[in-house]
Symmetry: C2
Subunit: 459 residues, 2 copies
């Protein structure tokens, strides 16, 4: 076990902060941290959302339950006003059955592969698809083998690149196969696509996620399989030249339906017309409890409101906590929010999202002009004692991205440690038990501290 002598870093960081910032900012952040780490409701709120409601895709029966949960949670946290903002959302359903099975002349038993249809995929019809498989490791390889594609199922077996330290880069590098693979293959006559799941987990859970068709080409079913099954399929293909795969999915769209952003506000005391948005997305994929993605972001955002109220922090500007609808397969919630804000000529100062999991926070990423970023970066010493040090990254979440696109609003995102995220992302393993209470709370504190400072000093 560790033997600890002196908390040098605590002493070091606090005095450094004093030299740079008014001492009362450090003191307020300390009070915020104490409040969140001692009295937070975030973990309990997350338990309710995940265990009593669970998976909640746009259009599902769970979604209105989640909206009511969010409304009540914001009211209980002390919002001045809490309300629903209506929008239309797509309504995709997984359907009754999904299956991928190896069909071989050999007499050995191979269990069905662990499979999940990708979001927005079409179904295959009642008979399923039985065809040989063409494995490719890249789009380049697909193009090189385009004459071999017709009548086959294309299997994209691109691996996460382990040399990226922040796993979001490995995801960005690989997710093109999930997003665009179906149409790239159907262009050459593929009947369906199978994708190696967007993950590097040491297990066989398949990971779903949105895909998008190119309307110039036929729409063919697209599914993802677990990593161990991807390796199994790849080995089998090399070895069993007569092999075919049977693929079945009943995925389909129903008509668009009504959804809601759930919003809670603390009205600003000095500049109520200036708005700071903080939020996460309320929807999740249907296959899990949506604990990290993005129940964590929702409960962290609600916790900011509760902590401010508990400490009697009255923001100068209006703080809007927004639980966005339909981030996973449409972004209709964020688009509605941004369009309504623009149409009403609202003045938005900043938008912050938490949508990278409830893991231990390391900092924030931002998209804003250099001089605004420099203002925030000057506050780094205040956050260092709490483990938040990485303020350099560029980028932000999908929902706040709509606000930035509509109105040029400076935006940011909580940057938690990324190592575990893609183990559970969009897979059945994203459950309440995967979230650590303290990590969740430290992320909520980090967000609360940043919002406090931006509200106090402006941007």
């Amino acid at each position: 076990m560790l033997r600890f002598l002196l908390p040098v870093s605590l002493v070091f960081s606090v005095s450094f902060a004093s030299a740079q910032q008014p001492a009362d900012d450090a003191a307020t952040l300390r009070k915020l941290a104490d409040e969140v780490l001692t009295h937070s409701n975030a973990y309990a709120n997350l338990r309710t959302l995940t265990k009593e409601i669970g998976g909640r895709l746009a259009g599902s029966p769970q979604m209105p339950k989640a909206e009511q949960w969010g409304l009540k949670a914001l009211q209980a946290a002390g919002a001045d006003t809490a309300y629903l903002q209506e929008c239309m959302v797509p309504h995709w359903v997984r359907g009754a059955k999904e299956e991928v099975r190896i069909i071989s002349k050999r007499r050995d038993f191979v269990p069905p592969l662990q499979v999940l249809a990708l979001g927005n995929s079409v179904g295959c019809g009642p008979d399923g698809i039985t065809a040989p498989v063409l494995e490719v490791g890249s789009f380049d390889e697909l193009e090189a083998k385009k004459d071999q594609v017709k009548g086959k199922i294309v299997f994209y077996n691109y691996h996460f690149n382990p040399t990226f330290i922040k796993t979001f880069y490995a995801y960005s590098d690989a997710v093109i196969y999930r997003g665009a693979g179906a149409s790239r293959a159907s262009k050459y006559g593929a009947l369906a696509v199978i994708v190696r799941s967007m993950s590097h987990a040491a297990n066989n859970f398949p990971h779903t996620g949105a895909m998008r068709y190119n309307d110039s080409f036929p729409k063919v079913p697209a599914v993802a399989i677990g990593l161990e099954d991807a390796d199994l399929l790849s080995d089998r293909i090399k070895d069993d030249k007569d092999m075919k795969v049977y693929l079945h999915t009943d995925a389909h769209f129903l008509p668009d339906t009504i959804g809601h952003n759930v919003i809670g506000e603390i009205r600003g005391s000095e500049h109520p017309e200036e708005i700071i948005t903080v939020g996460g997305h309320l929807d999740s994929w249907d296959v899990n409890e949506g604990a990290h993605d993005d129940g964590a972001g929702c409960v962290q955002s609600i916790e900011i409101l509760r902590a401010f109220k508990a400490l009697g922090i009255r923001p100068k500007r209006t703080i809007r906590i927004v639980l966005f609808a339909n981030e996973e397969n449409g972004t209709r919630g964020a688009r509605k929010y941004a369009a309504a804000a623009k149409a009403a000529n609202e003045h938005h100062v900043f938008a912050l999202e938490s949508d990278a999991g409830g893991f231990t926070p390391r900092g924030f990423s931002f998209v804003m002009p250099a001089e605004k970023r420099a203002k925030i970066t000057a506050w780094k010493p205040l956050f260092l004692p709490y483990g938040l040090y990485d303020f350099e990254e560029e980028g932000a979440g999908t929902d706040v991205g709509e606000i930035n696109e509509a109105m040029g609003t400076p935006m940011g995102e909580l940057s938690p440690d990324s190592q575990r995220y893609f183990d559970i992302h969009h897979a059945a393993s994203d459950v309440f038990e995967a979230v650590n209470k303290r990590e969740l709370e430290l992320g909520a504190f980090g967000m609360a501290g940043l919002i406090y400072m931006i509200d106090k000093y402006g941007l």
Copy 2:
């Protein structure tokens, strides 16, 4: 989901590093990271140690199996020499039965509490102990109530302080009740002590760990109970004035026995007489697989050796990978290692330990003169792209602490994120599945990089 634009931080950090360090140091660290993240054996080695051997307390039958595992792993990793260093170790055993049960005149069913005897505790004898319970929240309260102690079981119900950001501070603050609580209470006539487990986990696993008797006072049994049961017991005590508790433990010592440190060396090419020690402790408590504590430290240390060999890195100084015996309840392995090194007049440059879990690394803590620390701190920009930024903390592990005490050797310890550690520390939940492959590998890389730099530049 995140939308990532530019990896600004990667560009920023690499160019900053170039301005400060020879470009080849950054390049070597990049190669080390690529090697570890692509070809590491650490996770597979940990699976073998935890699943095929499991809990391995000093004196247990599993310990020699673990020693053989370590020897083979070091040889496979490419050690020039690998050998066992004999030492004597204590041999404490948990015994056949341990139980804590509420005895009440009420007719309600209360299941036995989740309990683990503390390491080094004595047993209670065949009839167990049945007595009323005195709950105290602190040693001050114990002293104030010392006249009420005689003939009772003292229940120390001190909670982890959640406002410490790094959880090791909360542990240091609370662990005095585990370590010293028995004798402090038996001084006033307590028959036994029950301790709230040293944890803040959201579950009821009890956590064991070493305690130490003060030989001036009677030795009474000492056990820990799960947090939920501690709350239950506390509530019950307030409510049920006639309540007693039945406590039973068969814990006892057998005679000291033989143990071994397991050591693998790469002989230095220029200064083979200068020694850098890197290691973890091979033993674990009997109640779990010893995955984080400290299988992780052992496999990370072995991985340094493998990565150096794989990349053809020939250190100038001798690198000794040491899997220490008996850290949990005696430190006899480290004491033997240090005493032998001192007796042989060895010249030790630095000693590094990993004994704070296989969680995502944030930096290192050190104990060394300021000018040596400054030398290491100047290398921070090289480590920042890999998430290692915190070099300010004071302190290091128990095993390297013995080397430092014997010979004044500068020492350090890997500092992983601490938020999850005390959820599993010394509890049945410290199993292989609690370790994340990438987090484990990043910790191994961090250590490898630090050892590389210290070997190259000296201290």
